[in-house]
């Protein structure tokens, strides 16, 4: 137990972050974009936990709790915006947002 190099956990965090970034770039559905942002935030949290593991300190886990709070607030606002967007546009396609008109 405890022989996992912290670099491997950081590599997994980098991989998950890049996958989330690809999701944001490729997908056009607002719900999918929000899910990809969640993946990226979770990967950032994993990087903090891996750093906390490397030095055996609690600070990384405190940072993860802040990320968790921020993710909760962000996803609530994002989903509320998606609801309003769907009510106006009858679609979740982010490309149709150029027809918003103020």
């Amino acid at each position: 137990m405890g022989t996992i190099p912290a670099e491997h956990a950081l590599m997994l965090a980098a991989l998950l972050f890049v996958l989330g970034a690809v999701g944001v770039l490729v997908r056009r559905d607002i719900i999918f974009i929000l899910m990809s942002i969640e993946i990226m935030l979770n990967a950032a949290g994993l990087a903090f936990i891996a750093s906390g593991y490397k030095w055996g300190q609690a600070d990384g886990q405190v940072m993860f709790m802040f990320i968790l709070t921020m993710a909760g607030a962000e996803v609530a606002v994002g989903l509320a915006l998606a609801l309003q967007f769907y009510r106006k546009q009858k679609t979740l396609d982010a490309d149709s947002a150029n027809k918003m008109r103020g």
């Binding site: 670099e7 999701g23 490397k54 709790m65 509320a80 769907y86």
Partner: protein
């Protein structure tokens, strides 16, 4: 424990790939929950059992339930699934995939060039986190509460039904 780490890493990576390639949003959401649960296992292995519990309760529980509710309210249906499937062509994928591949190889090169150093496991208890959270990070807790209040008021304002502006 090492095997568990690598197995759950593979599960996390595979289910995340499934999330960003599904056309149906409910399927993607279920894969995202699997991804979050495997990351929770990794947290547990890395000596963060409290954070693993928070990941399951808040991320895989509360935040994903929010997604489920919104998907149920919007009810995108087969029409948007067809539209998404049209967009999921290799032509759409090629650019971001190549650029991200360059980025991830750079990151992996940067992380491996120093050579792996085995870390010693120290399990951080909830007490340690609490002492740290309400000691040096107390201002962060206050700011987080302000952020949540702002989020609450903002969501209440945005999601009102009869807004015509």
């Amino acid at each position: 424990m090492n095997e568990l780490f690598y197995i759950s890493s593979a599960v996390a990576a595979a289910s995340t790939i499934m999330v960003i390639t599904r056309a149906n949003s409910v399927h993607a959401l279920l894969y995202l929950i699997v991804s979050l649960l495997s990351v929770a296992v990794i947290f547990y292995i890395l000596g963060a059992p409290f954070i693993a519990a928070l990941e399951v309760i808040i991320y895989a529980g509360a935040i994903m339930v929010l997604f489920v509710f919104v998907i149920m309210m919007l009810n995108p249906g087969p029409q948007s699934e067809k539209q998404e499937r049209l967009l999921l062509t290799p032509r759409m994928w090629a650019g971001p995939a190549v650029l991200s591949l360059i980025l991830i190889s750079e990151l992996i090169y940067a992380l491996t060039s120093a050579g792996p150093q085995a870390a010693t496991l120290r399990v951080v208890s909830p007490k340690d986190i609490g002492v740290s959270l309400f000691g040096p990070y107390a201002i962060g807790v206050e700011l987080a509460s302000i952020l949540l209040l702002a989020g609450l008021i903002g969501v209440y304002h945005i999601a009102q039904k009869g807004r015509q502006d």
